[in-house]
Amino acid sequence: MSETAPLLQLESVNTHIGPYHILQGVELAVPRGGLTMLLGRNGAGKTTTLRTIMGLWHASAGRVRFDGAEITDWATPDIARAGIAYVPENMGIFADLTVRENLLLAARSGDIDDARLRWVFGLFPALKKFWSLPAGFLSGGQKQMLSIARAVIEPRKLFLIDEPTKGLAPAIIVNMVAAFRELKETAATILLVEQNFMFAKSLGDSVAVMDNGRVIHSGSMAELAEDRDLQHRLLGLSLDSHQ
């Protein structure tokens, strides 16, 4: 497999939820390595795209290719085992399980690697404090950290992350930017859905913008960051005010 081929590719993906046609022909190519931002206003279909990739919703048409395999019709557990980690919008942590158990579940190999765990504690110190307590005791920001920690506790090829900064205090967001930067250094590929453009700008390498169930723009983040008019057209607001 050529190194320049995209790790993840969506071709004409359509998804229906009940009678609603949410994704109407999504074309998306996520390059290997680096962080791709998926931007767009509410209701554009970003979360649906992630869920479709993950197999939680079944695409009614089109194809999803991952690392050379066509995963469109695969069951969610198999898609996960192919090397994709998913951090959903509602965090999806198990409140009744302890922090340790949450991480243990994510460590498919059976045990948590010590070195990896130390690295995670370095990124998110709060998790060490709550190690043996139910995850439901964590604050919102800490739960988000746990959700990300769970995704990174073992090496994965692709991370699908849905709005990690939603509802978080700015101080925690700074923390998270640092964590993502470190994650990028592990040569992982990340597809990140965000509404916070400042966050996006500081981390993103490439960007795709969605509207009405389609990708209406894709390119490099640098290009978008410089072009105020383009930002305005695509996102309705200029970069600086879009917090």
């Binding site: 993950m54 939680l56 069951a75 969610t76 557990p77 996960a80 085992r81 998913y86 959903p88 999806g92 198990f94 409140a95 009744d96 399980l97 158990e101 243990l104 579940l105 994510a106 498919r108 059976g110 139910p134 439901g136 005791f137 769970r150």
Partner: protein, 336 residues
């Protein structure tokens, strides 16, 4: 999916002790009403014993619903089947059962339980694959199909064992009461409590110390996320269902001894109480189920003494009060 409101979310930052106070409060409140401490003690013991048996039966139902989102209205059938199948051994084991030895009686009890659990476990396996799997996710059809299954099961019991009640006498050494001063506590009730505690402990062990238990607990909370972590959780379903059915069978044997008789409709009778317990405890919660069972059984016993005509009504009132306090039960599992 219901949203947890902000108040409940705040509560979850600490251990939730409040519901645990309900049982002692209830017991204390009943004491002056009942008057005599010895009667109170007898009633409370009876309530605890009955509660344990109901817990054994209800735990299977709540786990199945919590994990698989399946409403098995046919759970009552497994109760009856377990007892009736165990009855097959009543005559062959009569030597052990009639001996006045605790040890021999216990061996016989274990044999009966083993047979009941194997039979209902297998039946549960078949039931899940044949009857329930085709209607996953369709609650309405599940209710209909499992009710239908229960009707058929009850009729088949009558076909095989006849319509009249059968005697299910207690083994000799289980009879009688232990007398502590003024208080007489029936031996069998103590045994029921022991069995119930063993089952509870066993469940907690499996759920908290094994990987499968971990998967079940996580799956009850958020099945989708467990799959997104790479686990084929549906493969657990039939096993959990079979285990739940086996527990119902165990409960059936214990219940049959409690009543000292078998009737084809016995499963249905207990089912109403089981539903009340599961609602009170919170769907999917074993701890809630345990607490709920004790509350319901103790309430039934107190009410049976104080106001026999409204015994079942007392449990409805209990259920209403608890739901007014916590609309999803005492310990609802997070995501439902």
């Amino acid at each position: 999916m219901t949203d947890i409101d902000a108040g409940e979310l705040a509560k979850r930052r600490h251990y939730d002790w409040a519901p645990l106070l309900l049982l002692p409060l209830l017991a204390l409140a009943a004491l002056p009403l009942i008057g005599s401490p010895s009667t109170w003690a007898t009633l409370t013991a009876a309530g605890l014993a009955m509660g344990m048996i109901i817990f054994i039966i209800a735990s299977g139902l709540t786990l199945v619903f919590g994990l698989m989102d399946v409403l098995n209205f046919g759970h009552g059938a497994f109760i009856s089947v377990g007892a009736y199948v165990a009855a097959i051994l009543l005559v062959p084991l009569s030597g052990l059962l009639q001996a006045d030895s605790l040890a021999l009686n216990t061996v016989a009890l274990l044999a009966l339980i083993a047979l009941a659990m194997i039979a209902t476990g297998l039946l549960g396996w078949a039931f899940e694959r044949i009857i329930i799997m085709p209607v996953y996710g369709q609650h309405l059809k599940q209710i209909l199909v499992t009710v239908g299954g229960m009707i058929v099961a009850q009729q088949l019991i009558i076909v095989l064992w006849g319509p009249v009640q059968l005697a299910f006498p207690l083994p000799t050494a289980f009879r009688g009461a232990i007398v502590l001063g003024d208080v007489a506590i029936e031996r069998y009730r103590v045994i029921a409590v022991v069995v119930g505690l063993v089952v509870f402990a066993g469940m907690l062990l499996v759920l908290n110390r094994t990987k499968i238990g971990l998967l079940i607990r996580a799956g009850v909370e958020n099945r989708e996320m467990v799959e997104a972590l790479g686990y084929h959780i549906r493969r657990l379903f039939v096993g959990v269902f079979a285990a739940g059915s086996a527990l119902a069978g165990l409960g059936g044997v214990m219940w049959a001894f409690y009543r000292e008789e078998l009737t084809p409709g016995m499963g249905m009778e207990v089912l109403v109480l089981v539903f009340i317990v599961v609602i009170i405890g919170g769907l999917g919660s074993i701890g809630g189920c345990f607490l709920g069972s004790l509350l319901v059984a103790v309430t039934a016993n107190y009410a049976g003494f104080l106001a026999p005509k409204v015994a079942l009504g007392s449990n409805i009132i209990l259920m209403v009060l608890i739901l007014l306090w916590r609309s999803r039960g005492l310990y609802p599992v997070a995501n439902r």
